[in-house]
Amino acid sequence: MMKHRLVAVFAVLILLMGSGACRKENKSALSPSQEGKVYEPEYGDTLIEGSIGDASTLLPHIASDSASHEIADLIYNGLVRYNKDLIIEGVLADSWKVSEDGLTITFNLRKNVKWHDGVPFTSKDVMFTYKLMIDPKTPTAYSGDFLRVKKAEAPDDYTFKVTYDKPFAPALITWSTWILPAHLLEGKDISNVEFGRNPVGTGPYKFKEWKTGEKIVIVSNNDYFEGRPYISRVIYRIIPDNQTMFLELQAGGVDEMGLTPLQYSRQTDTPPFRNNFQKFRYPSFGYTFLGFNLKDEKFKDKKIRHAISYAVNKKEIIDGVNLSLATESVGPYRSDMWANNPNVNKYPYNPEKSKLLFAEAGWKDSDGDGLLEKNGKKFEFTIITNQGNSMRARTAEIIQKNLKDVGINVKIRIVEWAAFLKDFIHKKNFEAIILGWSIPIEPDLYDVWHSSKTGPDELNFISFSNPEVDKLLEAGRSTFNLEERKKAYGRIQEILADEQPYVFLFVPDSLPAISARFKNIKPEPAGINYNFIKWFVPKELQKFTEMTP
């Protein structure tokens, strides 16, 4: 998923999964006196989370903003989810079975789960959610995967069966979608209901209150089937400005927020901060890249793309933009993911080699002005990126400088998001672009790299087309066999590294800061939020004691 707002990224990154395996610094920073003290979990207190944007609706299927999804994740459940080690586990589904031919998935649903209003959860709700997703009248952007289902059945209250046309490996995680209550929404027009402002789910938290533009309050569901959450109340405070939010954090008005690299490294090392907050650092689930429009004459030659890749000083970008709080990216996956192939061509910073490659491709500085020419034309192009993301803007500026050093004139253009999509991306009216993708835990990359996905609204907007990759993408998603999938994706990464349709830049770190009174936060590959319902505040540290859950 594209994240076009830096700050939305940070709000989401808190809840996204991150890896602890390759990172060293993932210990919480507790004050000396608290170090080592073991607390018993207790119920109570409130966690105030800072959010840059207000949710648009708590019917997450028709929303595309991270705030809505974040809160929805606590109110609803899916049939499955990723656990702390990024393995799929059941939530509303006790267990599931994939048929021999890979075409059918049968879910056995958990019994004795109740909606927040007391009505029991059954397969009717799953069927309703499915029908809603494929209904053309539903204004959702996420219907794609559901439309692939050939047949859905609910033979009894606790069984749900879906059959696909072809084996579709990503299918399983599709069912991590938020399940909606049939008894409250059946027959209603989904775009006009008040339900989105007053949701009912099966999840660990129940909706309490929403003051638009100000806050959303959810309280613990004491009958939650995985156990009552320890933190009794969560409040999302809407503070549209990151700077203000940081001030609020320090003033105690907010308990948790994502820090920027600057805040993390320069503003949070004072004794008072260390005593009152814990910081975490782990790789996020996203990478930033420089993409080339492969239909542009200038970038058709692979050698040119290699040359540019050698010219870009990724370390300088990581140091300058992320203050070293990022890791270099060489492909579409994170290094700790099962599908990742570490043995691919890399392009370490080497301006000399870059100039050599340009020369081989016919670009030389013949008139001594410091810029490369070929047949009288200078090598220049424009990098565009979206407004509202200062990290991308600064990345562009460093790349601009790097390329100037090897003789290329780069202009930068920052475009407002909607125009960015409509006028530049969809019309493929660009030369080079800096953007970010989220790294899905499910490795299927069909939508981004398959040559068929080059339509105006689709994601392969650089027009990448490689028949071998196409075949491998098909193969990868059509089998449930992990070994086969791994081989296919491994080979895809080799090709991508060799072709360099993107210069893969970096994977930024997630940098959440949380009030020290919250205990039991342990970074794992999935991040820190996988066990949110087990976070607690010891009685003597609790700040908000009187409330009605």
């Binding site: 998923m1 594209m2 076009h4 105030i48 648009s56 609706t57 028709i62 929303a63 595309s64 903003d65 809505s68 053309p136 009248k137 539903t138 204004p139 959702t140 952007a141 996420y142 219907s143 794609g144 995967d145 439309l147 775009s191 006009n192 989105g196 402002r197 638009t212 533009g213 100000e214 806050k215 409040i235 405070r237 809407i238 503070i239 549209p240 400005d241 203000t244 001030l247 609020e248 320090q250 003033a251 008005g253 509202g388 407002e416 998001w417 909607a418 125009a419 999509l421 409509k422 006028d423 991306i425 969809h426 899905p440 939508d447 981004v448 339509g455 609204d457 994601l459 908000f544 009187e546």
Partner: protein, 323 residues
């Protein structure tokens, strides 16, 4: 008076029409479309799904049809539904926030009047004195200081370093648990900084205007007459000069209205105040046409109303005017 009001309201109608027309044209210069954001680069959003959204929002009808559809509804105060995923009625979204903006702006205007007019009047009365010189400097600063800069500096000083005042929002987290007095105090503490910034940005014009008006009046013959009659300076100024100088000031108040409404964009965003300005900025960024047009129309409408009130007050205050 009644006929005057009717005439004025009548004149407002072509103005409103012009306002809505301009708003509509301006918005549709836009290269983006709202559905682009709803589907926001999501790998899971199929082309089919996006087409469905386009039809849902009526974006495939020709432009003039869209305008008249919209206009028909505006007349009934129906601004349609927001294009953002929450699909709420525009009028609801604006209604939630407009009172906050109006509230802050009204208090702000009140304080501005309390400060600016005496400042201007005394400056004029004691022209060229130290007071005049100093207040001139302050007034010029008021014109020249970028309010967003001031806001940030104040936030740091009072919010973080001194910790005296909260730095964002209108209410504290546990507002609902406070006593009535507590609530009032809480609101007050939250409003101090935004109000200060708003006032600082707005008082200069009024002060300057009252000063120059006062200066003009003082030079008038009737003042000289009053003085030569042997009246105390205090009466001369206080009774005769003042009333005449203040009349035009009332009309200026009406003209300050669009400035206050417009200025709210920046400080509402900085102080995280859920008002009209913040809504407008967000709507503009996401091409939420119905909300943008609703706000432009309502903003302009408020200005018209403000001017009307100013005119009426002027007429009431000035005995020479017969409506």
């Amino acid at each position: 008076m009644g006929t005057y009001l009717i005439k004025r309201f009548g004149a407002m109608i072509p103005l409103l029409f012009g306002i809505t027309l301009i708003s509509f044209i301006v918005i549709h210069l836009a290269p983006g479309e709202p559905t682009d954001l709803a589907t926001e680069f999501n790998p899971k959003a199929s082309v089919q799904a996006k087409q469905q959204l386009r039809e849902l929002y009526g974006l495939n009808k020709p432009l003039h049809v869209q305008y008249f559809d919209w206009l028909q509804r505006v007349v009934k105060f129906d601004f349609g539904r927001s294009f953002s995923p929450d699909r709420r009625l525009v009028i609801d979204k604006i209604n939630e926030r407009i009172w906050i903006t109006i509230g802050i702006n009204t208090i702000s205007l009140f304080i501005i009047v309390l400060i600016a007019i005496p400042l201007g009047v005394f400056s004029a009365t004691y022209q060229y004195s130290m007071f005049d010189k100093i207040s001139t400097v302050i007034v010029f600063l008021g014109f020249a200081v970028p309010t967003f800069w001031l806001a940030l500096l104040l936030m740091i000083l009072f919010g973080v370093n001194l910790g005296w005042l909260p730095i964002s929002g209108l209410k504290s987290i546990d507002y609902d648990n406070m006593t009535f007095i507590g609530k009032m105090l809480d609101l007050g503490r939250h409003i101090v900084l935004p109000l200060f910034v708003s006032v600082f940005g707005g008082f200069a014009g009024l002060s300057r205007y009252s000063r120059s008006n006062m200066l003009e009046v003082i030079r008038q013959d009737y003042i000289t007459t009053a003085r030569s009659k042997g009246l105390e300076e205090r009466t001369v100024i206080g009774k005769h000069a003042l009333r005449n100088a203040l009349l035009p000031v009332i009309t200026i108040l009406g003209f300050s209205l669009p400035g206050l409404i417009g200025g709210s964009v920046i400080f509402e965003t900085i102080f995280a105040i859920p008002g009209m300005g913040q809504l407008f900025y967000m709507a503009v960024m996401s091409r939420d046409y119905p909300v943008i047009m609703g706000e432009l129309v309502i903003g302009a409408f408020l200005t018209l109303v403000g001017n009307l009130i100013a005119d009426i007050s002027y007429a009431l205050a000035d005995p020479r005017i017969r409506l």
